[in-house]
């Protein structure tokens, strides 16, 4: 059975406020939780594969974007059987409320939420502000691993089409709204990778023709929480000229930062059709004879 939503006033303006919970709400839920109840499961999903082990929200399980959500052979997400195993092992049933949080302003948490959505998991929410906010507020973390009671999660066939774009979809989409959420240097073609990050092997720099540069971080406050709806509308609607009925593709380097923007457009601003191109620049920048644009605008 689903857990009641966080009726925090700060969220009420968003298109889908039920997709966010505050640190205070989560702390209260955990304080009153019934031992063995399966209606709320907290998941930590980080860039750093060891960060969870250094201390996590009590009772939270870990899902690693690479080792748990990606297929280890093909460049693709896990299939329904593996997904059922990953979730079932963590005590998640099909109707469980899942709250995900992570490092880096919830990049990887948003990415995990997006993958959960590929499998149609209905009630999946983000902890606004993520791991950093929880820690900054002095809320408890622990190294104690939660007890695992495996449950049955059904094997669901992944449904990519509504929220995932592939290279051919993007080729056909050129001329329609597209958001490049990488840093300005990556967009212009000056950099082949994120500043301060390892080179991940793109042969060409630049962006997909027609894509607008809206770095993901513009949607986040200093403390990693999401900006207010009016601030977000000022960026995506007024400044970028997007409208919620637009068919939008977002991309970055491997689809993690663009999951953050996908979440903002879909759940906070109520866009109907946003697809994340997870192949992103590590595919496009290596593909033969796809059009590339360079320069800052």
């Amino acid at each position: 059975m689903a857990v009641a939503t966080d009726d925090n006033n700060a969220f009420s303006d968003y298109a889908h406020p039920e997709r966010l919970v505050s640190t205070g709400w989560l702390a209260a839920q955990l304080a009153h939780r019934v031992e063995g109840a399966h209606d709320l499961v907290v998941i930590e999903s980080d860039e750093d594969v060891l960060l969870y082990e250094t201390g996590h929200i009590p009772g939270a399980f870990k899902i690693d974007w690479h080792t748990d959500l990606n297929d280890q052979v093909t460049r693709d997400y896990v299939d329904g059987e593996r997904f059922a195993q990953v979730l079932g092992e963590r005590g998640i049933r099909r109707d469980t409320t899942v709250v995900i949080y992570g490092d880096k302003s919830n990049w990887w948490a948003a990415y995990a939420l997006w993958v959960f959505t590929l499998f149609g998991h209905e009630d999946v929410r983000l902890l606004d502000g993520g791991r950093a906010k929880w820690v900054a507020e002095g809320r408890g973390i622990t190294r104690v691993l939660p007890a695992r009671t495996a449950v049955d999660y059904p094997v669901i066939e992944r449904d990519d089409a509504p929220i995932r774009a592939f290279k051919d979809d993007v080729l056909a989409h050129i001329g329609r709204p597209m958001v490049d959420v990488r840093s300005p240097g990556e967009y212009s073609g000056e950099l082949l990778h994120m500043p301060d990050y390892p080179q991940e092997g793109a042969m060409r720099g630049g962006h997909i023709p027609g894509a607008r540069s809206v770095p993901w971080a513009r949607a986040a406050n200093e403390d990693g929480t999401f900006k207010s709806r009016s601030d977000l509308e000022a960026i995506y609607l007024s400044e970028q000229g997007l409208t919620p009925s637009d068919d939008v593709v977002a991309y970055c380097r491997i689809g993690e930062r663009s999951s953050h923007t996908w979440f903002v457009l879909t759940h906070l601003l109520g866009f109907d059709k946003v697809r994340n191109y997870d192949g992103s620049w590590t595919e496009w920048g290596n593909a033969v004879r796809v059009p590339v644009e360079v320069g800052a605008t």
């Binding site: 594969v49 060891l50 250094t54 080792t67 301060d196």
Partner: protein, 157 residues
């Protein structure tokens, strides 16, 4: 005689660490890596606050800085001189700290000649590929090559 490729052996301590990792399951390897992260020594006083004296390892996903000393002075010349390693990485980057911790325990105190003889593929010998993903191991490869480069420069005549 085997016609297979030549495998350069690891220095003794690094080899022991590799064997410790090899004996564990993927999950327990993460726990051991966390121990190395926890035990990474603090940067000595003379370097703290002096980022300009440290080399940034850009290939790591999180900021890591390192500095090498040869025989306690910036420029010793012998292959027998002792190598000292110092690292700085934030607690929010435990994987990177863990890699640094392995290299610290395995290489600190060895001679110039011994450090330079460490094979460049050493980071792949801890069985960490499946535990942390091969992508993430690149940071450790970069750390090792930058350590060897600093040793080479600082031990040159």
């Amino acid at each position: 005689m085997s016609a297979g490729p030549v495998t350069v052996p690891l220095p003794a301590v690094l080899d022991e660490i590799a064997q410790d990792f090899a004996a564990l399951s993927a999950r327990d390897r993460l726990t051991l890596l966390l121990d190395f992260s926890d035990d990474l020594p603090e940067l000595p006083e003379r370097y703290s606050g002096h980022d300009e004296l440290l080399e940034r390892v850009d290939e790591c996903q999180s900021p890591l800085f390192l500095v090498v000393e040869v025989d306690g002075v910036p420029n010793a010349s012998s292959q027998e001189a002792t190598v000292r390693l110092y690292f700085q990485a934030p607690p929010e980057a435990p994987t990177t700290r863990g890699f640094a911790g392995i290299l610290h325990e395995g290489l600190d105190g060895l001679t110039v000649g011994e450090v330079l003889a460490v094979p460049d593929d050493a980071p792949y010998r801890f069985g960490l590929g499946e535990a942390v993903s091969p992508l993430r191991l690149r940071g450790m490869v970069a750390m090792l090559s930058r350590i060897k480069r600093q040793v080479r420069i600082k031990s040159a005549h």
